[in-house]
């Protein structure tokens, strides 16, 4: 089942198209990567989902209902540019955000206590944000995003501004939220986190969606059918077209299989020496991203 379904969404700011005919289906319980270069329209899309701005045309369904203000309490949002009231105490701030998301006073108290404990910042609850380190403030910010336990959590560049230790903490927190059945949308251009976390991805470039699907399927679709071969060859004589890299008697090179199967290829290669390695080259998201963006920008 889709938690969020977007149909034919359009948005323009004056003469500039921010989103053109966007269709997206975000399945329940996945981590969904929203990828795209800066200025592609990701933030606009996220703002529309959060009902901060309105689309010009198109429909959004949240759990099969037209998206409406009642859904605000079920969506959590961490913007890329984030902030807190600098002179407000940690506790007051979290309670305020929790109450704004529709939690009752007692439930807000309970949740804030729970998360302060979990994130190990309980001793800081009476401090003002001014007095916290940047990493500490980021934790408070993260808590404020998930304090109302939303069904859908949208994180815009969630790792920017975190040091590696805290980034790891957030990563684990994201995986734990997924375990609980929460759907997460990560908007990012940091591909290593996409590979590590996302089940689904959609790529947006110049206001249009250019790619979407399961991460594994996308990688399958776009694999170049290329293999890396490592062979020990004592004579150091191999066909010239293979562009071989030599290291003593060890040769490393890439081949395309064309119409042969893997086994046929292997038996063919065996005549050139002892095969030490034979593995398919899977494109990294980074390569795919750059390839797709360039492809679309040229055309």
């Amino acid at each position: 089942m889709e938690i969020l379904s977007i149909k034919n969404l359009n948005k323009a700011f004056g003469p500039n198209k921010a989103l053109t005919d966007i269709d997206l289906d975000i399945p329940q319980g996945v981590i969904y990567g929203l990828l795209g270069p800066n200025g592609a329209g990701k933030t606009t899309l996220i703002r529309i989902i959060n009902q901060i701005i309105e689309a010009d045309s198109g429909d959004i369904y949240f759990e099969n209902q037209i998206l409406n203000p009642n859904h605000i309490g079920q969506i959590g949002y961490l913007p890329e540019e984030r902030g807190l009231y600098k002179r407000m105490k940690v506790w007051d701030q979290l309670i305020y955000f929790a109450r704004l998301k529709g939690l009752s006073a007692s439930l807000a108290n309970e949740r804030v206590n729970f998360w302060l404990d979990k994130m190990d910042i309980k001793n800081w609850k009476d401090k003002r944000i001014d007095d916290l380190s940047k990493g500490m403030a980021q934790k408070v910010q993260f808590i404020s995003t998930i304090i109302h336990e939303p069904k859908l959590l949208i994180l815009d560049e969630p790792f920017s501004g975190f040091d590696p230790v805290n980034a790891d903490l957030i990563k684990n927190e994201i995986l734990e939220l997924k375990q609980k059945g929460i759907t997460l949308v990560l908007s990012t251009h940091r591909m290593e986190s996409v590979e590590l976390l996302c089940d689904h991805v959609a790529m947006i470039n110049r206001s249009k969606k250019i790619l979407d699907g399961k991460l594994s399927e996308i990688k399958q679709t776009f694999r170049p059918n290329e293999y890396e071969v490592i062979i020990r060859n004592e004579d150091r004589i191999l066909p010239e077209e293979w562009e071989v890299k030599w290291e003593d008697q060890i040769a490393t090179f890439n081949i395309k299989l064309r119409d042969k199967t893997e086994n046929e290829s292997l038996s063919y290669l065996m005549q050139f020496g002892e095969i030490l390695g034979f593995s398919e080259k899977i494109p990294s998201m980074e390569e795919l991203f750059i390839q797709q963006v360039n492809l679309n920008s040229d055309g």
Partner: protein, 436 residues
């Protein structure tokens, strides 16, 4: 509605709990009574500590007799100039007044010698005593009895009474009206600027620290804006009410305290208006003012004040919020302040030039009807009693004006808070108002 209430509560508490709020609220009203207290204290100190000052008089005309007062006594020993000067030098006398033979038509050559510079008050006391004596003497010489003259001296006082169409009579007094219009009008003017600026800075803080994007994912921008405006308005109202209570109670104590120690009539009058009824005949002006004050419907006046106080604040507060949303930093806000400053200045100048001087003129009428100037200008007419039609028209227009300004500001605010790093001008603002 719940969410607006949460915003109001945060805006209110985060300001009221600040130390600076506590200081400003407690110290400001103490300033006036404190200044008054210091003056009274100095005055009393002087009259307590100074022993009777004796002034030697040498009068070659043998004509002048100056009455002694609480502080000054005059001695006539018929000495000469040297004798008088020596008394001052040796410290036996506070001063020495020398009156040579004078021409009554053109008196000159009168000198006062003192060991220190005498006060203006003292010199004018001497001057008026001598003047009175010379006048009497001259009248006498021209064959008129001074007693007769003083018997004919009359004081005229006009009391003005307004007659309304039901025939009810009401005492009015331009001075009282002026004082009330002046103080309430200025209060509203200051209130709009001080708290309007707080709204603007609050919006800029939320925008520049990017909290606003998180906030508007939880509630509508309009709710956020209204919550802020109402919350800060409540802070202002709280401060104002505390001031009223503090000023009246502290003034009461200061006047009461000094009133006990200082037998002067004026102080007693200030502290206890009932006493003045016994001296009505001697001071008809004060009695008249008291009568006018008695006639003023203070409940109605206070309600009018609170209405225009809040109406003006809400009308302009929305604009302050819109400006805050349109800019990235307070320094950029200056360029958009003109549309707020100009009508407020017109209202302020209009209050002094037209309304307070002639509350019934055409200009005064329009200034107190147009919503952009009415919150300040109407107060200049308030204590006269405003015709019901004028009041109803002005109030309804102010409510419409405030709804309109909030609507316009809401449109600018909604877009402005999400726009960063772009140069905004009036054309852009107009585009925002038209959009959506």
């Amino acid at each position: 509605m719940d969410k607006i209430w949460l915003v109001i509560k945060r805006e209110y508490l985060s300001r009221v709990q600040k130390k600076s709020f506590l200081l400003a609220t407690l110290l400001t009203p103490l300033i006036f009574p404190a200044i008054m207290g210091v003056f009274l204290w100095i005055a009393m100190d002087e009259s307590d500590n100074s022993a009777l000052r004796i002034i030697e008089v040498v009068d070659e005309n043998n004509m002048f007799f100056i009455e002694s007062s609480d502080q000054y006594a005059f001695s006539y020993a018929n000495g000469d100039t040297e004798y008088g000067k020596n008394l001052v030098k040796s410290g036996d006398r506070f001063g020495f007044l020398y009156i040579p033979k004078i021409d009554l038509n053109n008196p000159s050559g009168i000198v006062f010698y003192g060991d220190s510079n005498p006060s203006m008050n003292f010199i004018s006391y001497l001057e008026s005593s001598l003047k009175r004596r010379i006048e009497e003497q001259r009248l006498y010489e021209s064959g008129i009895d001074p007693e007769v003259i003083s018997a004919y001296r009359t004081k005229v006082n006009i009391r003005s009474i307004t007659l309304d169409n039901s025939g009810e009579e009401k005492f009015t007094d331009a001075t009282v009206n002026y004082a009330i219009g002046f103080s309430t009008g200025i209060l509203i003017y200051i209130f709009i600027f001080v708290y309007g600026n707080q709204i603007m800075h609050g919006v800029i803080e939320e925008k520049s620290s990017r909290i606003v994007e998180i906030l508007v994912s939880s509630l509508k921008p309009f709710q956020l804006m209204m919550g802020k405006i109402i919350g800060i308005g409540a802070v202002g109202l709280t401060q104002f009410l505390i001031w009223m209570v503090l000023i009246s109670s502290v003034s009461f104590f200061v006047i009461g305290y000094f009133g006990m120690q200082m037998p002067q009539q004026q102080v007693m009058e200030m502290a206890n208006p009932q006493l003045t009824s016994s001296i009505n005949t001697e001071t008809p002006e004060i009695a008249g003012i008291l009568e006018v004050i008695k006639e003023i419907n203070f409940v109605k006046l206070a309600l009018t004040f609170i209405f225009y106080f809040l109406g003006g604040y809400l009308l302009y507060g929305a604009f302050f919020a819109a400006i805050g949303a349109a800019v990235d930093a307070p320094s950029e806000a200056q360029q958009f302040m003109l549309p707020i400053t100009i009508p407020l200045l017109i209202a302020y100048m209009g209050l002094f030039v037209f309304v307070l001087n002639d509350p019934n003129s055409n200009v005064s009428f329009w200034l107190s009807i147009v919503p952009f100037t009415s919150p300040i200008a109407m107060m200049g007419r308030a204590s006269y009693g405003i015709p019901l039609f004028d009041l109803a028209l002005s109030m309804s227009l102010l409510i419409i004006g405030f709804l309109f300004s909030t609507w316009v500001a809401g449109k600018i605010y909604r877009i402005g808070i999400l726009v960063h790093g772009t140069k905004i001008n009036y054309k852009t603002l107009w585009k925002w108002v038209k959009s959506g």
